[in-house]
Amino acid sequence: MGRSLTGDSLKKLLDCFDTDHDRAGEKYEELRRALIRFYHGRSIFFAEECADEVLDRVSRRLQEGVEIKNIYSYCFVVARLILFEKRKSPDNRKVPLEESALSTIINPDDDSAERERMLQCLDRCLQQLPPESRALIIEYYQDYKRDRIDRRKAMAKRLGLRRDALANRAQRLREKLEQCILDCLKK
């Protein structure tokens, strides 16, 4: 959780999300993910640090006695403020990506050595998943367009999950694999 949050300030912040501590923690993490996504979408460097800065500032306001009725709206206002600050900062001037970086995406065969390493890492990472998770992610990401929509509806029904709960599960598995590959490539 937020790096500079003390025990008391964290508790005050979590109380804004939910009275149940476990549920509050989950909602905190969901909000943090959404804030990181917000900054990525706005091409802001160090998106995770910006998300933590939002939560630190909101927590400080709570410590100062500010009454926050809607924690999400308040966090968004702070997030926008930080966005504007970052845009003005010389450290965040948008640097164009190198042509080579883009071309390896558009023409993937140009970089087969890197691709081979990623495949080996993916193989290892897939084997670390429990079998049910592996099966879920294989089925979830098949097909295109209408077939994909129908397949996912059928999966949710079969597994007894809400449609968004299934989507959430698949997304978290995909993110886990993505991070696992990144970690593997660093070794």
Partner: protein, 309 residues
């Protein structure tokens, strides 16, 4: 998920909304976790459609012009370029391994991948994964696949009989352990063996419906040590974390790296602690699975009561 909402999200991802509309959408997904899930799904599907060549030329141009030129988005697309062909091959292999008059896709997939051991479907998936990557396992696994295919029908029948025996023994073992658990919660039966009091706790997913939800551990005065034995379904994690808390939330004990004993699909670990660490109180054992990447997933929080006599 509504088509109109997905269209708007798509426009957002492709940079086609005004600043005001962008902020409105962003505020919504920050406040609404279901909408955030929708956004992530539309984004993943957009990336996947791009990688699979399923975008129209116009969509492709917009995607490459706006979405792609970003470090984090490039990373995601690069991942999808590796991930999707592997998933597609694995899905095709599993479809081909379907027996005649077969089961649902889910049952086929989950039964073809029991733990890390191979059935023909899992071997076929491994072969496909390796072929897709041109990896170092390709030749070896192809030989295994051919040999496995020849033996499949007779081995499958033997496997089924063996599985039936194993399940029966497993069920008998669990029934005996549940009975032992019931014995322990009867106040008159305080299990003390050489100064050790034991409590067997069984995870909810394994528990007999008739078992009381809060077991009681009786600790007579001469007891030197307490053994807490926890049984759960093996979730496939390389290690587990466990913490023991009193009712006031104080941590009595913890371990960051537990490797339980595995007996088929049941994982068991034992915690031995001095008896003087316990008082008349309720305690909670928080058990989590720890993945290889360090992610910690809560698995269960069984509680028990202690009576000292």
């Amino acid at each position: 998920m509504e088509n109109l909402t997905e269209e708007i999200v798509l426009h957002y991802l492709l940079g086609e909304l005004s600043e005001v509309d962008q902020f409105a959408l962003e505020e919504r997904y920050i406040a609404d976790s279901e909408f955030y899930t929708l956004l992530c799904e539309v984004e993943d599907d957009l990336i996947d459609d791009y990688v699979r060549g399923a975008l129209t030329p116009d969509e492709r141009q917009r995607f490459e012009g706006h979405y792609l030129p970003s470090e984090s988005n490039l990373r995601r697309v690069r991942f999808a370029q590796v991930f999707l062909p592997v998933m597609d091959k694995a899905a095709q292999a599993l479809e081909k391994s379907r027996p005649v008059g077969g089961r649902s896709f889910w049952k086929r997939v989950s039964s073809s991948m029991p733990g890390m051991r191979g059935t023909i479907g899992f071997l076929a998936a491994l072969v496909s994964l390796s072929i897709a990557g041109g990896g170092i396992w390709a030749i070896r696994l192809m030989h295994e696949e051919i040999a496995a295919a020849r033996l499949e029908s007779s081995r499958r029948e033997n496997e089924l009989f063996q599985m039936m025996d194993i399940e029966k023994r497993h069920n008998d073992q669990l029934a005996a352990e549940v009975e032992q658990l019931r014995e322990q919660i009867r106040p008159s039966a305080a299990p003390v063996l050489s100064g050790v009091s034991k409590l067997v706790m069984v995870a909810e997913t394994l528990r007999d419906e008739k078992a009381l939800t809060t077991p009681c551990l009786i600790i007579p005065t001469q007891t030197e040590r307490v053994q807490l034995i926890y049984k759960m379904e093996d979730s496939g994690y390389p290690s587990y974390r466990a913490q023991l808390f009193s009712s006031s939330g104080d941590e009595i004990w913890s371990s960051e790296s537990i490797h339980p004993r595995l007996d088929h699909s049941v994982a068991t670990f034992t915690i031995t602690l001095p008896a003087n660490k316990f008082y008349d109180d309720f305690y909670t054992l928080a058990v989590s699975g720890v993945s290889k990447t360090g992610n910690v997933d809560p698995l269960g929080k069984p509680s028990f009561q202690v009576e000292k006599r």
